[in-house]
Symmetry: none
DNA sequence: TATGAATGAGAATTCATTCAT
DNA sequence: TATGAATGAATTCTCATTCAT
């Protein structure tokens, strides 16, 4: 006898569980850190019991790592954005930075993964390295390509330093860290800061006539 | 019976103890985070026992907060640096950024305080706010003053955005976070990156002729 | 739709299940003891799930006791052997001991029941008493009868002690315990030991001329 | 200020603790088996808390093994007895069997170690092997020596089987197992059974004239 | 009948904190 | 002051048992 109005069947529920648990784990671990989070907190968030969590993940440690992987995977893949860029080098650099900003500093999930990377990174360096390989390195590589192109075409300065791509991305880190530390207590307009950053980095702070050697 | 030649007397030892404990606490909390650090680990680092720690600090929580305050206090006071600046606005901005970099992103202690601020900030917002008031805000205020001065004197662009001071400081955050996440596994030359950042932000990436509107 | 060639029908399966479960339970409990055995281990051995086990046995404890009873029942009934004995008293004693040896010390199932009796006997004295009544006491009684007969007929010594039947059976215990403790790591030839035991107990170790008073 | 009448100082207590805990552990493990014993039960027996147990033993498993070793060590060393034997071979065999009986089947501690060897031996074969090496093998070796001597001197039968020493010891196992299984519910006079066993094994059950070939 | 997801009562182990010495 | 044995609350993880499908 099928009960009417029942949202999810048993099988559906089971298929959903791992995902639900990983989501709840993300919230708890992000809020309290690994050691201070109790498996029971994660379960309670889903109105289930801790036993159920252990049905899907063998240990708290595995749960944490799978959560991290899961949350990382569901973040936007930088390669998607890179392929869509159009216009001059400056335009493409600008667009890539803004898109990356939206996907990272301005995305709560990515920000919290940064928090966990900083907080638990000493314990789990592999985890952080993996994240670096998948998200940070590709974005910096794309910026490098764009800058090289711009230099070649004469659109950008010839004397560009090797660190230029990092500099281009620096305010993304800043906004993310600011958020993580000060949350809503001292809010910043991340978008405006990004715009200002791009403007400065492109045009410089000095008046033309004052340009340094 | 007083032993001659003893390095530190009982009284001296007593006076030193709180300081020693706070230092040891800093190392342990920075390495493992609040929850994962055991009071006994801190004691063992000093070759004393946990009972002695409790002679000076009533709880682990108080010890953590006093450690944070202590480590913050012993960091370089930004106001010292600000007073010493000389030269053109650009020079003073440049020098302030480099000094701040040396005192923060390039200083292990300050970097680890940033890690703790990110990791435990949700639990102890007051702590982070305090740190913001004492170090971040004053530095940004000094940058704001310098920029305003430069704009007034015509050395800097007239259309400078309000966020300019933040942008100036952004790569400091970046270098610090990079260190915290990737440590020595993917080292960066922070100083070179800072130089590149200052150059870009001052002179811009675009060739003069390409300057955006 | 009934599949042709199916080995066991649903009804047959149902009739078999309790037996199968008891057999699987025997293996698991014998290998790991009561407390260390999980109901799921028993189920997995049969490629069924623990729910099914609970369809036939209400609790783990009941399952254990029924397993014990079942395994005991399926052991050879000593009265069968006793009825078949022929020959002189000495022959019949000898044959009874050898048959009992084969049915107990040399029978893995009986040996493991001894293990469980020793391991869990404190918790379940009834269980052990029952086993004693059904197997040990009848065998000893038969030996007593045979010895009495032999004494009466003059075949055996007149001064036989009351404990003689126990002594006759002692090496059966020894071989069983040795197996349980040392398994195949220090194997013994149980049959040879039994033969030696019977010989000694019948003829004595001393030379005739040395016989004790 | 020393309190009068205080039985044990702190240091004394500490020195005693491991021994106390091992004794309590022996009682509990012997009574309930490894898996069914809770560390807290052991602690409660000493009117301490489980935390204290963990101050001296890192895990329940280690505690069990150290308990086993400790209880084994404190059992009588068979070599002591063997050295004291005097008289004819038969006398010495008789005395060795009786002494061994007193030290094993008639000694509660040794009996319970046998129970644990049977119950947990599958899990910890090393433990049992060790016990075999230290107690069982030496005793059987001593019996072998005595028998060989007796055969050489003509005191014992020339056709003695290799298994004779085992047969000599068999009723020791029997009494021990009987105790473990039936405790006080069906008591036996172990001493009398031993005497009967020795008598039979020395003199045989058959009348002289009936001696088998 | 059979399943296996879910539960929740434990049990092992850890560790902040206390306090007698 | 310093110690470290002892405590006991908290936490991870397990598993007998239930029950909806």
């Amino acid at each position: 006898m099928k009960r009417v109005g029942k949202k999810t069947s048993r099988a559906e529920r089971k298929a959903l569980r791992p995902h639900e648990i990983l989501e709840a784990a993300f919230e708890e671990f992000a809020a309290k850190g690994y050691a201070a989070t109790r498996v029971e907190d994660i379960a309670t968030r889903l109105r289930i019991t801790k036993g159920t969590v252990y049905l899907y993940f063998p240990t708290k440690d595995v749960l944490f790592q799978e959560m991290f992987r899961h949350a990382s995977t569901s973040s936007a893949d930088p390669s998607t954005a890179i392929g869509c860029l159009r216009g001059s080098c400056a335009d493409r650099i600008r667009d890539l930075l803004l898109i990356t900003y939206e996907n990272t500093a301005n995305d709560r999930r990515t920000r919290e993964l940064l928090r966990l990377s900083v907080a638990e990174g000493t314990r789990l360096p592999k985890m952080v390295d993996c994240r670096h390989e998948l998200f940070i390195a590709p974005t910096l590589a794309a910026l490098t390509t764009l800058v090289e192109e711009g230099v070649k075409s004469g659109e950008l300065r010839q004397d560009t330093a090797a660190d230029t791509p990092d500099v281009l991305a620096s305010s993304i880190f800043q906004v993310a860290v600011w958020h993580l530390m000060l949350a809503d207590r001292r809010p910043i307009d991340g978008r405006a800061l990004m715009e200002a950053h791009i403007d400065l980095v492109m045009n410089g702070l000095l008046r033309r006539s004052e340009r340094m050697a």
